[in-house]
């Protein structure tokens, strides 16, 4: 699918306005120097030159949502019997995520395996995912802490995007990746972009070469079981960890959640909200027992999940796309890439990484 499109820079807002007539459009907006995906408005201060503080996972996997509502009612003659009506809250709109960085777009593929393509799909996720078009945006530069190339990706990875957009002089080259993406560029503002292909590719290559690989050895990091299960390693590597949830909440692939009920006498709601494996409450049992009682246990699970358990289940694919947010925004600069590197098995040969982060 290489019918390249081109969008003139000066037509960007008009193009988005057009999109917004059909869909809900989220764009990266800078406010007080904080970039986050917000509903597009004509006066939005769209920020493309640096990745958003928080990935657009918020659009498909919102910070909280109502899964179900329970409505209580009684018959007058039988006040002691409460009838419950359960309603599913599924009202998903056509949505566009504009200018998701490739790592952020790719994050959704990590979700997909769990939420969409599993034997028990999650209808809330699937509902939003299927109605969402993701316009990826090739990174114009690298950011502190990025290491996408080390986990099998590139700053112009198409996986997860429906269209990949690359900035060239005067505008953006739009490369459709999926049928959904193709449909989006059927717009009067989109011209033929084939002549910009070379420039786009060069730019992509340039940026790719700037990404640093934090791992000592090339290829897919192989974690040594022995080191992984050595508690003293974690204790020393993670002493500085504050056990907050910044790393997980900002991670495009972290998908853990909590389910809680809230009651309001006549009705109640079942909520799903983000949760983090770094929080002690996450695994705390009613008895007071906690299978992951310290931050070391919790971080170990986080690293384990991303680099061992998830790959074990999904054909070796890592649950990390190297966006670097967890490193960049960690209040104490805990560096997961460094931890993984230290855990690497120095004796065995690394396997080659495939582009989806899996093994060859």
């Amino acid at each position: 699918m290489t019918e390249l499109g081109f969008l003139k820079k000066e037509n960007l807002v008009e193009f988005l306005k057009e999109l917004a007539t059909k869909s809900v459009v989220y764009v990266p907006v800078a406010d007080d120097d904080v970039v986050a995906f917000k509903l597009f408005q004509e006066n939005s201060t769209i920020c493309l030159d640096r990745p958003a503080n928080i990935p657009p996972k918020t659009v498909i996997f919102p910070q909280y949502e109502t899964l179900l509502t329970f409505t209580f009612s009684k018959k007058e003659e039988q006040p002691d019997k409460i009838d419950v009506k359960i309603q599913e809250k599924m009202d998903f709109k056509d949505t566009v995520i504009f200018a998701a960085r490739p790592c952020d777009a790719k994050g959704f593929t990590v979700y997909d395996r769990v939420y969409k393509d599993s034997d028990i799909p999650d209808p809330y996720y699937v509902g939003r995912r299927e109605k969402t078009v993701i316009i990826g945006f090739s990174c114009p530069n690298v950011s502190p802490g990025c290491f996408c190339t080390a986990v099998g990706s590139t700053p112009s990875d198409k996986e997860g995007s429906d269209i990949l957009m690359t900035e060239v002089s005067g505008g953006f080259v739009l490369e459709p990746v999926t049928e959904k993406g193709k449909a989006v560029i059927q717009s009067k503002f989109i011209e033929d972009g084939s002549k910009y292909l070379e420039e786009a590719q060069k730019k992509q290559e340039d940026v790719k070469n700037k990404v640093k690989n934090p791992f000592k050895k090339a290829g897919k990091p192989q974690i040594s079981q022995e080191k992984f299960n050595d508690d003293s390693f974690w204790e020393l590597a993670l002493s500085k960890c504050l056990s907050c949830g910044a790393c997980t909440f900002l991670c495009p692939t972290c998908y853990c959640f909590n389910i809680t009920d809230e009651n309001k006498i006549w009705e109640a709601e079942r909520l799903r909200s983000w949760d983090a494996c770094m929080f002690p409450h996450f695994t705390l049992e009613a008895s007071g027992h906690n299978p992951r009682p310290t931050k070391f246990h919790r971080f170990k699970n986080r690293v384990g999940h991303k680099f061992l358990y998830y790959p074990e289940k999904y054909n070796g694919v890592l649950a990390c796309c190297g966006c670097g947010r967890c490193i960049r925004y960690c209040p104490v600069s805990v560096d997961i890439s460094k931890v993984v590197d230290e855990l690497s098995d120095t004796n065995s040969e690394n396997k080659t990484l495939t582009s989806n982060g899996g093994e060859a």
């Binding site: 939420y115 299960n229 809230e262 996450f282 705390l284 246990h297």
Partner: protein, 275 residues
Amino acid sequence: MKNPYLPELATITKIIEETPNIKSFQVVFNDHEKMKTFKFEPGQVGQLSVFGVGESTFVINSPPTRMEYLQFSVMKVGEVTTALHELHEGDQIGVRAPLGNWFPYEEMKGKNILFIGGGIGLAPLRTLILFMLDNRKDYEDITIIYGARTPPDLCYKDDLKEWESRPDVNLILTVDNEYPGWDKRTGFVPTVLNEVAPKPDNTIAITCGPPIMIKFVLQNLVKLNFKDDQIITTLEKRMKCGIGICGRCNIGSKYVCKDGPVFSLAQLKDLPPDL
């Protein structure tokens, strides 16, 4: 697409006070059709909803061979279980079931079965015991070692009475300490297991109880020469989604809610030691 988070409405038809802090709830789906077609395997669990309070996971401890109702036993420890204890017969709850895996009862056919339970840990064993009793001919000797802190803390007192009277069940009861009116064994379950010293030949041992009990039972079974694949236990973790997504009940790559709760000791040994 089926919504896996959507509970089925059910009515509590009977509440049995098992012990001072454990109640058993017998529930039937409001949808009679659903009740008729409902299928599950012994050892599978369900999520019970108290609307507005939350969900909690319990094993279905009635056997699939007796489908007049589903029974769940609830020990009062946290918010949801406390709310469940406040419910009355006739009240509505939500049920998401069946979830998780089950006891490999097919593979146990023709074998001696040793059940070792403590406290409310008898619940998952009960479903299998009743299932096997309903298919008695498929299994050889059935031995049940069950203990609780005190006699009033023993669950399923009617069942115990019945099993005790059956010639084809060897029931060994114990309580931690001497207790007025108690003339059976005293001592902790792992110790009693050593006293009874069952033979591992052609035997599968299934154990469930408080973590500390399980720990010593497993040790003692190994000492009694049971092999890792002859020992089965069920695990309990904090669960929310029940479908292997939400991320809290995993041990390594295994999700207790989906891949469990039933594990053989051999399987457990392959997992990271994060119990």
